[in-house]
């Protein structure tokens, strides 16, 4: 993957990490049938952290972040999100899901609803916000991702980059305290990657807690305050971006970096 140059100045003043714990994962294990996909994961995320998760395909990155909002069930260990323990209790799961936004590789917009309806659906039905208010919020976030003029179109009429920005706006409309990104730019053409990354940078500048699975190493270098490297279901290494890229510790990390940075 290319290292995309991010041209603009990034304002790191608000990107402050607080002591408050946003996500705490302890000794988490997960199996798909007999296949041990996540092994002994321990991870603490402070509020305001921007974490990039990297690793070869099939290493369990998606599975890990999908466990955080219970799209996947873990079998062992504990996950605490915003002080709520993830258990099989449906009330807890719905509560966590409504506070954790998620952006997918393939957008997963609802094709039968307009952009505006996509953005207001969950606030109206889950948060029980009046329609009018929900629409105002939605327009606010659509402006933020710079596509308010598309509000009445259907997802199928938008470009990939626009769809992904709608997906981000849709998550933001729920006022989440944590955002999860699963390869948000992998399905996009190069010229659209930038517009999505710009949106994500803006979010980071506002102090959002973010976990991003991505191969955009430029983004990792400039925005992340921690990079996590996963391989075969384990967290192999984690470090600040500078250290991570310039001074990788394990051989697997070195191999991965040499491949992805194209040396």
């Amino acid at each position: 993957m290319s290292e995309l140059a991010i041209e603009r100045e990034i304002d790191r003043s608000k990107m402050q990490v607080s002591d408050e714990v946003a996500i705490e994962i302890t000794n988490m294990n997960k199996w798909y049938g007999a296949f041990h996909v996540l092994r002994d994961i321990n991870l603490t995320v402070q509020r305001g952290e921007r974490i990039v998760i990297a690793g070869p395909s099939g290493s369990g990155k998606s599975t890990l972040i999908r466990c955080i909002n219970a799209l996947e069930e873990h079998q062992q260990g504990q996950i605490v999100v915003d002080g709520t323990v993830l258990s099989s209790d449906l009330k807890n799961i719905d509560k966590i899901r409504s506070e954790v936004g998620m952006v997918f590789q393939h957008f997963n917009l609802f094709p039968h609803l307009t952009i505006l309806e996509n953005c207001t659906l969950a606030p109206i039905w889950v948060r029980k916000i009046p329609r009018k208010e929900a629409e105002e919020t939605a327009m606010h976030f659509l402006e933020k991702v710079k596509i308010p003029e598309q509000a009445d179109k259907y997802p199928g009429q938008l470009s990939g980059g626009q769809q992904q920005r709608v997906a981000i706006a849709r998550s933001l409309c729920m006022m989440p305290r944590i955002m999860l990104f699963d390869e948000p730019t992998s399905a996009l053409d190069p010229e659209m990657i930038k517009e999505v990354l710009d949106t994500m940078i803006e979010l980071a500048e506002e102090g959002m807690t973010m976990l991003c699975v991505t191969h955009e190493m430029g983004f990792a270098r400039q925005v992340a305050n921690r990079v996590i490297f996963m391989d075969q279901g384990q967290i192999v290494e984690q470090n600040e971006p500078e250290e991570f890229f310039n001074n990788p510790q394990s051989d697997r990390t070195k191999l991965f970096l040499s491949q992805i940075l194209g040396h």
Partner: protein, 447 residues
Amino acid sequence: MSDLSFVRTEMLPEKEPPASTVGAIGWARENLFSGWFNSILTVVSLTVIYYVLSTLLTWAISPTWSATSLGECRDILAEVGREGHYAGACWGVIRDRWIQLLFGFYPSELYWRPILAFILLGVALAPVLFSDKVTPKLLWFSAVFPFLFPWLLWGGTIWAPLAVIAGFVIGWFVYKAVDASAGSLAGIIAAVVAAVVWWMFLSGYVVNGVPNPDDPNAVGGLNALLPIGIEAVESRNFGGFMLSITIGVVAIACSLPLGIVLALGRQSDLLIVKALCVGFIEFIRGVPLITLLFVASTLLNIFMPPGTNFDIILRVIIMATLFASAYMAEVIRGGLAALPKGQYEGADSLGLNYWQAQRLIIMPQALKISIPGIVSTFIGLFKDTTLVSIIGLLDPLGLSNSIRADAAWNGIVWEIYGFIALMFFVFCFAMSRYSMYLERKLHTGHR
């Protein structure tokens, strides 16, 4: 050599395209005579079409509208010099019996009731079928109509439909009460039980009072207090297209929601629910409809407590509904399977619960994908209503037998069946066109 130009300096004037590629001739050439094989096919088809149409039209265009018997028809045709078996159609039978083909033996002074019922049916369907053109306020009428419709057709006391509505209200309150304390599944089960108990056992006492063993005709309950009602018409007087449409419309309206529930149940994680749904679907699909109708007409009485009068048309409607809903469930399951997993994940990640996700995200898309299959099932169901003639109900086909047995019309075949076929075609074709309209309307430009 030097003034030789390699670039053309003036253009040739534009010419008309040759006549053989445009216009009617061009079209015919391209579509009908593009090659010797296609030309032969065209000529053969045209000959066949000409032969069929000319025979059919000479038969159908026949001055027999006013005839009162088959013999009279033959006389009229002989007068204009047309002899033989297929000399001409005998349309007198349609003039004589069309009312019967529409209403069966419904009392003629009460025809206004089915007519009004079917007009109101159109009004009730309008906001459902054309939701973007008709005001949603009419949906209130659509909600009340299912109770009004049978009352208009069968008549009787006003308290009967109100008692049925009361059952729904009771179910609703039971659901609300149980849902708060024991969860939504328990709530639904309790609500269904409460409503069924009300309809089967309690409502009778409230409407008609406690039965008096000495005088079975005595009325009590609300009927005695406030005897409001219209003249009752018995089920055996129902017939003709009125009967077909009644069975068809009710079964269609009920089989869609039941099919959705079955399709969802089949995908459920709850083992018992899933097993029940799969068992039901496979059983119903494995049995011919006619068997179910025989069960409805004869066997069911054996299981009923003696003396209960379980209306035959209601029994047939229930069987037709169950039959169609099994097919419907499979059609909808196909639509559900066609949805990408990402749609479920998108809904889940926003915190929508199971029912919200189904109602707002999954079903609208799955149903849209399944429209052709759903409408095929509807059309099949509507045509299958003709099977009720076998268990003695007088639908158009059942009536045609009695008309043909009439001495005046003995020997008539094509005219009646042609008329019935045409009527069915009109309804089925309308449904098919509506489904195409709906598909176009719901198309929002998928990837």
